[in-house]
Symmetry: D2
Subunit: 161 residues, 4 copies
Amino acid sequence: MNILKELAVQKLKDRGVKILDIADIVFNLQKKYIEDLTIEDCISTIDSIIAKREVTHAILTGIAIDETVEKDLFEEPINKIIKTDDSLYGIDEILPLSIVNIYGSIAFTNFGYLDKTKPGIIGKLDTLGKDGKQCHTFLDDIICAIASSAASRLAHKNRID
Amino acid sequence: MNILKELAVQKLKDRGVKILDIADIVFNLQKKYIEDLTIEDCISTIDSIIAKREVTHAILTGIAIDETVEKDLFEEPINKIIKTDDSLYGIDEILPLSIVNIYGSIAFTNFGYLDKTKPGIIGKLDTLGKDGKQCHTFLDDIICAIASSAASRLAHKNRID
Amino acid sequence: MNILKELAVQKLKDRGVKILDIADIVFNLQKKYIEDLTIEDCISTIDSIIAKREVTHAILTGIAIDETVEKDLFEEPINKIIKTDDSLYGIDEILPLSIVNIYGSIAFTNFGYLDKTKPGIIGKLDTLGKDGKQCHTFLDDIICAIASSAASRLAHKNRID
Amino acid sequence: MNILKELAVQKLKDRGVKILDIADIVFNLQKKYIEDLTIEDCISTIDSIIAKREVTHAILTGIAIDETVEKDLFEEPINKIIKTDDSLYGIDEILPLSIVNIYGSIAFTNFGYLDKTKPGIIGKLDTLGKDGKQCHTFLDDIICAIASSAASRLAHKNRID
């Protein structure tokens, strides 16, 4: 059993993110390119991505930062800068590169697209974060990274030549 | 006088891209965030970006590849892979990172967004390339990079604290 | 006054890093390329780099993570993975990309070189971290990023054409 | 059969690079970390890396640029900038990121280290390029990328937990 992976999936759930939420985003990204794509394909692809050590490290680190900031345990002013998801704070977009880079340029461009358009659970996390009770500054970008990486992997696997 | 910059602007024009075409994209990206933004602000920001050595190098290299491929001077099969802008060919999205990286994470996420949505001149280049007479495989992504970098620079300059 | 910058310099000092320690590394990287380079040139270049918002954000976030891990305040197992600087944990090398990317490919290649060779204060932080009393998992890579960015900036400024 | 891979291996050979030359570099990078490492392990790891589509695309594009520049077929001044491997020209270090990124941060830091220290075939290509008869501006960096990616993959595969 991949203990780090089980833990990452559990932490995502604890923070309000189900694998199916991510699968919905992936399905909407790729359905126009892959004719017979199913939600099950998306789920199993996400599953294989979260099994990678680099990905579990990114998920667990990002959520650890969010939770620490939520409890105001980082020194000021960096705690507040992260908590308010300051528009010029960019570390939350840099950390998920450890996921996106592994899956190539389709992952990379979809990452930017999802970060701007915030569909489904990504937008929901963003709104919850802006209410100030929860902090999802890193988590929403990590979800963008997992979804865009899954989209890229599906595109590559679907190629037959 | 910055000779490399003058040359880069001229090559862009020769390949069908005016600075104003890029400014339109930047204006549409940033108008909702910067109340009194003008097209002139966008033009002068693009101007300062194209003045940088890394940016002229990227523009001149990308266009040189496109033109060489257009004349079928690269060996096969790489000439054809680039000419048809194969969806799994990702070098054209990697090269513009030499521009985007300099301008931080707002540039980076907007790059992916523009690459997916292809507004204005970006979509026009993409369509011309797909007709097969011209090759703009690298140029369209370079325009995405210049526009997204200008959007990022405007966001940073507009911050007063 | 740039308050974030003053704070970043103070936090570096609190964690055992003086600007002069970084300047020594930069001087050794660039002295063979720039004939009349002085330690003062290196100090003022580092100074201009630390003045940038992206750089202060990276410094303050990296040190905040290190300090939190030192106090065992992240959940396990991620606290231990970061504390022991596990060789397959790579988030500490990803975060400083927010600094390195801004300064182009000379910064990027020097970053890898410094990370492998660990001269001066970088090696000292690494050894202190491995003793287990302190955690400098993120800080040593951030120092690599500042030093390599300063080397790149000096190379570009020294070019006269 | 993977035709693109066979072609990439052949082009490397035509340009003076044998897989064994790359394996020597990988062996020297990793022998101190992996006790029973053999040259055969290095060769088979390089083999699996060159089999990836992104990697063959990078190899074939980089060599196509080098060969075109060698024949002076790009317009000036970019042909000369690439031919002389101008120290401020950084596109040759950006293109191999399409390889390095896939293999994570151990690949990334080793890439910078190899680019600075230029062991074995990397230094040989660099010297041949500086004589002006051949152009290996892109190829030497691509070899750095393949070797550093192989080092990273071996480090990950050698981990048993």
